[in-house]
Symmetry: C2
Subunit: 497 residues, 2 copies
């Protein structure tokens, strides 16, 4: 997986490439743009008011006194009793409405619990900009983009919600998928007195230096393709050299540009590199959203997109241009499922605000480890090289990366004191390798979804849901009930007045 930033986690987590000579964001822009056109998949189904809430730019000093508004969505249709639960989504890297539309599970169970539903937008994303259009002008402005500050925003919002007498003793259950799930888990760990429990879906909180293997994403993605068709990942692996060979001269570049209907023709080796990085992103993304039903979460995709993709790559004798022709057909599952796309766009995404924002996080604290060896996986060989990443980040963001920051702040190797968290992971999800796959304690438990892709359990129910997903959601409801009960019992004791 070379010179790229993979589009991962929920909607738009962008990981920096291990070896990125520059912090390219290539295809993510493409994907993010497509996403924007499709966030309303469930529009009309989930109703909410959009509100704003004032938070301090800096929760941890008395030097910066600036304040700004974060957005949040609220629906209290089902809130009929005092101190009814609050279901609170800890927004991650994107427009909060995208997460609201794609977290059907919360909407579906809210009536049963009489819960108020809240989706809070992560600072520096969507419309929650601390310094307006200057938010990314320099470190003085973007430097408050940290998970701790975002979690502190959510703490403030919850305290505000509970300042209303009718919610004074409302148990708060937090939910998050992907980076949002990491935030949920960390928030429960750091603020157990504020939130009573967390459903952390597909949260790779262990995908950091020295904890989980950096190869896991590439290997699980490859395994997902292999499960669809044994030949498929082999042909993908073979394609890297074929692409290099075919595009080694101008005629070949022209051939590929025309046959793949590239919006921008390949005219030099950098373009070829960008194309390959784009392909790797697409493979990773399809593996992540390999849901058993049609979705428009990231781009419009058919049910079981990995299988549909691999259907075009089942002939093991394919090589040379015929392999690339087959690969293009497979690629169309991702780039043109609707049949409406005129050309294949692999543009750099650095102009996209969401993508740019994640770049800062990925350069500062979220140094999630990704690598590939091209042998045990179908990607190009690329070691994890923190030195190079740090250099790239310094050029891009003016910061020297600290790969140990997250584990120092939240813990990685020893999470045995965590309580009231469900860590759910779909084993088809390439991110599951960085997830918590075993019970940390009697109340911080792992829920495994063998047939699940990236946080499928947080999505709305679907007739095609595999049983393991249905079961996972039952676990979630069980634990949520337990946490609420526990809180209410405790409330009646001396500690809570």
């Amino acid at each position: 997986m070379k010179q790229k930033c993979i589009l991962i986690l929920s909607v738009i987590i962008f990981f920096l490439s291990p070896s990125a000579l520059q912090l390219r964001l290539s295809n993510r822009f493409h994907i993010a743009q497509m996403k924007k056109g499709h966030i309303n998949e469930n529009s009309g189904k989930y109703k909410y008011e959009i509100k704003t809430f004032e938070v301090p730019v800096d929760h941890f000093s008395f030097t910066v006194k600036d304040k700004f508004n974060i957005r949040y969505l609220v629906n209290d249709t089902w809130h009929h009793e005092n101190n009814a639960p609050i279901f609170f989504y800890t927004g991650n890297e994107g427009d909060i409405e995208v997460f609201a539309e794609n977290t059907g599970f919360m909407w579906e169970i809210a009536p049963e619990f009489g819960a108020t539903v809240i989706f809070a937008e992560h600072r520096y994303y969507g419309e929650s900009m601390p310094f307006g259009n200057k938010s990314f002008s320099d470190p003085a402005h973007w430097g408050y983009l940290t998970s701790q500050q975002a979690i502190a925003d959510y703490v403030d919002l919850i305290e505000y919600l509970r300042s209303n007498e009718i919610r004074k003793h409302s148990p708060v259950i937090i939910f998050g998928g992907s980076y949002g799930g990491m935030l949920s888990a960390w928030m429960r760990m750091k603020y157990p007195h504020i939130v009573q429990g967390a459903i952390a879906a597909s949260a790779p909180i262990l995908q950091f230096t020295g904890v989980s293997s950096c190869e896991s994403f590439a290997r699980i993605a490859t395994s997902s393709y292999r499960a669809a068709c044994d030949t498929c990942p082999k042909l993908i692996r073979r394609s890297w050299n074929v692409i290099m060979n075919v595009t080694s001269n101008d005629e070949g570049k022209k051939w590929l540009s025309e046959n793949w209907k590239l919006c921008q023709p390949l005219t030099n080796s950098t373009h070829v590199e960008e194309l390959q990085a784009f392909l790797e992103d697409v493979y990773g993304t399809i593996a992540m959203v390999n849901y058993p039903y049609e979705t428009s979460f990231i781009v419009p995709l058919p049910p079981n997109p990995v299988k549909v993709f691999c259907n075009h790559l089942s002939n093991k004798s394919l090589t040379g241009k015929p392999l690339l022709t087959a690969l293009y057909k497979a690629l169309n599952v991702f780039t043109n499922y609707t049949g409406q796309t005129n050309c294949t766009d692999i543009k750099d995404a650095s102009g996209n605000l969401g993508a740019q924002t994640w770049t800062y996080q990925a350069c500062s604290e979220m140094l999630i480890t990704i690598c590939s060896d091209g042998v045990n996986d179908m990607f190009r060989s690329e070691p994890w090289d923190i030195k190079k990443i740090s250099e790239d980040c310094f050029k891009k963001c003016g910061i020297h990366s600290d790969p140990y920051m997250v584990c120092k702040e939240y813990g990685c190797k020893d999470l045995s004191t965590a309580t009231n968290i469900v860590f759910s992971n779909g084993l088809m999800d390439p991110w599951s390798g960085g997830g918590v796959l075993w019970n940390l304690s009697s109340s911080a438990t792992a829920v495994i979804i063998p047939e699940g892709a990236h946080h499928i359990d947080l999505r709305g129910s679907n007739p095609r849901d595999p049983y393991s997903v249905i079961l996972a959601r039952k676990y979630h409801r069980y634990y949520i009930k337990q946490w609420i009960k526990q809180y209410r019992q405790k409330k009646n004791r001396i500690l809570v007045t």
Copy 2:
């Protein structure tokens, strides 16, 4: 307890007066000055190297890139085996050497555990100044004086210590008394993956708005005097009016100034007010350090100073000038136990750096509640008035106080998830009312020392120690052993590599 900032907690925690029309720091200067002359009580007994360690000014943003050095003391005389424990004192509001000299318990048990002893200095105190002599020039400089930042300093220092291969898997036990104990407890709550257990002695982590009663300090102090002699607190209560009556004219002011050998004669009502605030501070402080043996912790004091003080106030018929004469004799127990003091100094302490520093903390996050009613206690009537305090703080520090900050950040009412903390409290200590006096969980336990004053258990052992203190220290050792054992067992499992 009117218009004053009480000298409390360990050496020099200064609380802002509830009603302080201005943030006066009166007598604390006096006390702090005296303290400075006496920090070497045990000098020579405890040996350490003085080192420095670089930390970021701001741990929670990427905007501020300044760094500075905190001091720490280290003794690894007893460290003979790899991964031996680290005993780490989370420094509080003062020169770290003072705490090293007055925390004999750590020194006494270190050999038994083969532990390395570390005392870390709190930022903005002693010689650990983030911006040198500009550290208090304006909020841009002092704004990073928060408990979270201080705790993060300690996390960094521990990570650094463990970066040495011989300490890679050293269990870290943290110790703290008073505000230092609050830091220890909070640090274990927030960073259980970094520190394995905490001895939080006399840590009034519940002495905040809406949690503990603000009267507890005054009532327990009064009770301590009453235990020594029933008449004593009654005479103290009576003395307030007597002082006002006697000093209502110039002749009376002169009489009192001369008879009490005041360094600065009383010439107006403000002086009288300062004198009364000073007296209240002295009463509170004597109750805190009411140890059964001679100490020089804050000032040189005899064994059982409350009793010695009250010996002069046992004649219940005393009133008028004879009462004040007796009170002066009693006061001498505190102001002139050595017989070397030429005059009674009640000067404002605002020029003292340590005092000034605590003022910022007390104005920003450490809004510890203190009040008195003059009926159930021996102090002057003074309600807790957060509005007034906030106004005073704004004038003094340019900040609007937030009394709910600590409980939001660390929790107060619901601490049920806390683990591996011993909360020890001496019931003779006026601060015990804000301490954790019951077990929070099976591993976050309360140790009560009925005959104990302020964190006596952290002091070195003394033949006059009451049995409850000896027992408390046994508990501490037992829990420390448990925590170390637990950590070593876990280390051998999968989570710790």
